[in-house]
Symmetry: C2
Subunit: 359 residues, 2 copies
């Protein structure tokens, strides 16, 4: 009872046909559409073998075959074709990203939108974060008398700001001075570093440094809390969710950002595209959904996660290809916006997109 080439082929047909039609696939259908040179009886014998191996199963005696989670796993590992999106599609997507290129905050949002539409499933994207947020530049803008806006440019290229109420009023020059000083003093510091350094400062500087520390802390926390998701409508349209109560746990997991974090953090263990199928999920509520994920970003420190989420009956090939491609596009964008002194990235970037100033 080994996994002959023909059996593998049959498994592939079962998965692909089932993903397409959502109906358990019968020996008859396989013969008609794929393996025209043998009879349905032969196929049935082979399918029985695949079932014994635990790769496919029977909802009931008189029904066709459905892949099991291990079946999908084998398919993903050995059988699937994940060819890249078509050149036309690639161009469209690159173009969309190019349009929002100067607007770092919208990358993740756009990515979730593009991904969910391309794969017709839900997509989740975390914005770019450092594993530990570090300050790169601090600026202060006066809002009015005793209120200032503290803006911190993080090493990751993201920008965060907070309103700060000052004890005394401060002029613009004073604010600029503080901003410049803190930029220098706090350079590349993490939240704890800033807190430590703040002890050596005085008065207004100290208050601002405290705000910076809060911002960094929050950025650390937010890593997986603030996620963009889209395409819930696609998932609900799938036949496995005709009764919406089945979808409720999934949707609540999506809305409660942190729950997804646990899932997404898996993407950090390995590079490349990662597939999690049904019962392989650590989260109880996701035992009937699959995820295709990959990190994007730059280096080991500055990263985000892309994820496609849907029922286990999912077009894995397409999902993997799209996730891989979009991660690649984002990698280039990120590289271009990170101050790392490596000119190679700039070249890459200039090739892919035009300068904002030439718009």
């Amino acid at each position: 009872m080994e996994l002959t080439a023909r059996r593998q082929r049959l498994l592939k047909h079962v998965v692909e046909e089932y993903v397409k039609s959502a109906v358990p696939v019968s020996s008859e259908v396989i013969v008609r559409r794929y393996e025209t040179d043998v009879s349905s009886a032969t196929v049935r014998n082979e399918l029985a073998q695949l079932e014994e191996l635990g790769l496919i199963s029977h909802p009931h005696t008189s029904a066709g075959r459905v892949p099991t989670d291990p079946g999908y796993r084998f398919f993903v590992e050995h059988l699937m074709d994940a060819e890249s999106p078509s050149p036309g599609e690639q161009r469209t997507i690159r173009h969309q990203f190019h349009q929002v290129e100067p607007d770092v905050d919208r990358w993740a949002h756009l990515a979730s939108s593009v991904l969910s539409n391309a794969v017709q499933n839900a997509a989740v994207v975390t914005p770019l974060t450092s594993s530990r947020a570090r300050s790169r530049r601090v600026a202060l803008l006066g809002v009015h008398d005793t209120v200032a806006l503290v803006t911190v440019l993080l090493h990751s290229g993201a920008v965060r700001q907070q309103i700060l109420h000052l004890d005394d009023s401060a002029g613009r020059d004073e604010l600029d001075r503080i901003g410049n000083k803190l930029t220098a003093v706090l350079d590349s510091q993490t939240a704890e570093g800033v807190a430590r350094t703040a002890d050596g400062l005085s008065g207004a500087e100290r208050a601002v440094a405290a705000a910076v520390a809060r911002i960094l802390e929050q950025a650390d926390q937010q890593a997986f809390e603030e996620v963009y998701y889209e395409g819930v409508g696609h998932v609900l349209s799938q036949p496995e969710f005709t009764y919406s109560h089945k979808a409720v746990p999934l949707i609540q997991a999506l809305e409660r950002g942190p729950m997804v974090g646990q899932l997404l953090s898996q993407a950090f263990d390995a590079s490349g595209v990662h597939v999690v199928i049904g019962t392989e999920h650590p989260l109880e509520q996701m035992r009937e959904t699959s995820a295709v994920l990959a990190r994007y970003g730059h280096g080991d420190d500055i990263q985000g996660v892309l994820c496609v989420l849907g029922p286990t009956r999912m077009p894995y090939g397409r999902a993997v290809a799209m996730v891989r491609f979009i991660a690649h596009v984002l990698d280039l964008l990120v590289a271009a916006s990170v101050a790392d002194g490596d000119p190679a990235y700039h070249v890459d970037h200039k090739v892919g997109t035009a300068d904002a100033s030439t718009n």
Copy 2:
């Protein structure tokens, strides 16, 4: 056939009971739970009158009564009690907002979260925007050599930024100079104003001004495009959406921000809380859902919209009360962060929340 006091009372009972139970309400139930001093036959006679007036209806002969859209409308207009949330609840909510007070960007997100949980329905919130975005302060942060981050503080208190690729490299002093100059020159200008002014500038200044103009334009566009929503799970749990395909149009409307814009813009016509019921919706796809909306913000120019969205069978009283209360809380927050020179707002605000600097 007039609307006597008793008939109004009965209509109120029908609406409240139906909202609670989701089951058509029978004369029997009304007698048992509300009007114990008359017989069910009497109630039936009265209900028949209400039906003739078009305020309630019959799914079929042997079923109880269900409110019609005009019935809900009358209820909302004349019968509903929208008492404020309990003091404890008010405190909890104020506390939550206080915690993110310095972080303008998260207000809308938090509002949608609080609202959807309190009313157990979906909630949509647009972030604060001016009807026309105006520049208040421009700052430039060097990212690396020829790349700078243009940060614009809008009159509304929101902050936007874009990456800008410069033609020539510029030092920090030069960037500061440009930032200060543009802050002065572009003060209170809209996108068109900035574009016009830019003609008089030269070189790098012009490029930055162009970026500012783009930022303002985008802020104008985004007014209703970028919405926060939450609580889809709650809506799907309602019995009217057991078959999820009924919920798909609603969810897609939510995900496609602009479609909701049409709905939300109604909130601007009138102040106070606005209720739109089922067929009153302009959007075809929302004919079975109701919305409770209000704007929040400061003055006529700086505003956002709060909205509860769910099936017509909705706890209107509770929804109106919560929307009103949260709009009020946000009003105070916004007032405190806007530079309008009116000290009254500051006093208000200091009462409600503590300074960030005293954390």
